[in-house]
């Protein structure tokens, strides 16, 4: 079973990397980009039956720093 964890900076937390990417996109002539926020994607290959609460626990204890980051878990259907 696989799951994806998306980690994003909380609203209001300054994102210097997102800002730099935004700047570079404008430098390349891409207009119409209002804002850029950079985050992380972590893919987990998990034992069958791993519960949502266990994955949330992993996020709270290590994968995300909840002082500055939010996380969202997406389970992937196994083929």
């Amino acid at each position: 079973m696989k799951a994806r964890v998306f980690i994003t900076l909380k609203n209001g937390v300054l994102d210097p990397q997102g800002k730099a990417i935004h700047h570079a996109l404008e430098g390349l002539g891409f207009g119409g980009v209002n804002d850029v926020r950079a985050g992380k994607l972590i893919e987990l290959d998990l034992a069958e039956g791993t519960s949502d609460s266990e994955i949330e626990d992993m996020c709270r204890k290590l994968l995300a720093n909840t002082v500055i980051e939010n996380f969202r878990i997406e389970r992937l259907e196994t083929a």
Partner: protein, 222 residues
């Protein structure tokens, strides 16, 4: 004073801190490996050094904060043993929940490596007893993730309780309210991005850092 310096894979200021402590205290600190689960008996002071523990994987300090030795460090801190986290050590202490807030990428995205002027905001702590409040001092900084951030309520609490120990006099890394170093609520844990252990003797270009360790030694021995 019996001190311990924690060593993680990727620490690189552990030796500097050990040399500074030996010079000031006259005793060699115990070097404690990150996989140890206990600290040596009778430790009066713990230093979490600078560097790039675990290659800054995931987030600076994130892996080190979950290593076995940090449980022993947290227990000791809870008993009132003074703990200092310098640079990466500050990042480790925030990730471990021993200090509030987080250290993010420098606002200008540049690694900052230079001497910076600081103001001592609180001279009443274990670590700052040998400075005067409002005194201007200079420590070197060398970091990429020194941008201190916390929510407004936390920042107000830190200011109100005198827990901002050091503040940058100039813009350095984007830190909220130019905070360079903070204390925990009990006052026995200090985290700061600048490096006091690099200004211990005149040959270093300054001795402002020596007084931090001397003040601590006097308080611990008192």
């Amino acid at each position: 004073m019996n001190s311990a310096v924690i060593v993680f894979p990727g620490s690189n200021c552990d030796r500097d801190l050990a040399v500074a402590l030996e010079q000031v205290t006259g005793r060699k600190p115990h070097m404690v490996w990150h996989r140890d689960t206990d600290l040596p008996e009778g430790i009066d002071f713990i230093g979490v050094p600078g560097g790039f523990s675990y290659g800054d994987y995931l987030r600076s300090g994130a892996m080190a904060a979950r290593s076995p030795v940090m449980r022993a460090v947290a227990d000791a801190a809870g008993r009132g043993v003074p703990v200092i986290g310098i640079c990466n050590g500050f990042q480790v202490l925030t990730e471990a929940g021993l200090l509030p807030g987080a250290l993010m990428r420098n606002a200008a995205l540049k690694f900052v490596c230079r001497e910076v002027p600081l103001r001592v905001e609180n001279s009443q702590s274990l670590f700052t007893a040998n400075y005067n409040s409002g005194e201007k001092i200079a420590f070197p900084v060398a970091h990429h993730d020194g941008n201190y951030q916390a929510d407004e309520a936390t920042l107000d609490r830190l200011e109100g309780e005198g827990r901002v120990a050091f503040r940058y006099l100039d813009e350095v890394n984007g830190s909220a309210r130019r905070i360079a170093g903070i204390l925990n609520d009990a006052g026995n844990v200090l985290g700061l991005m600048p490096h006091p252990e690099r200004v211990i003797e005149p040959a270093h270009g300054g001795t402002d850092g020596r007084r931090l360790f001397e003040g601590l030694l006097e308080t611990v021995n008192a």
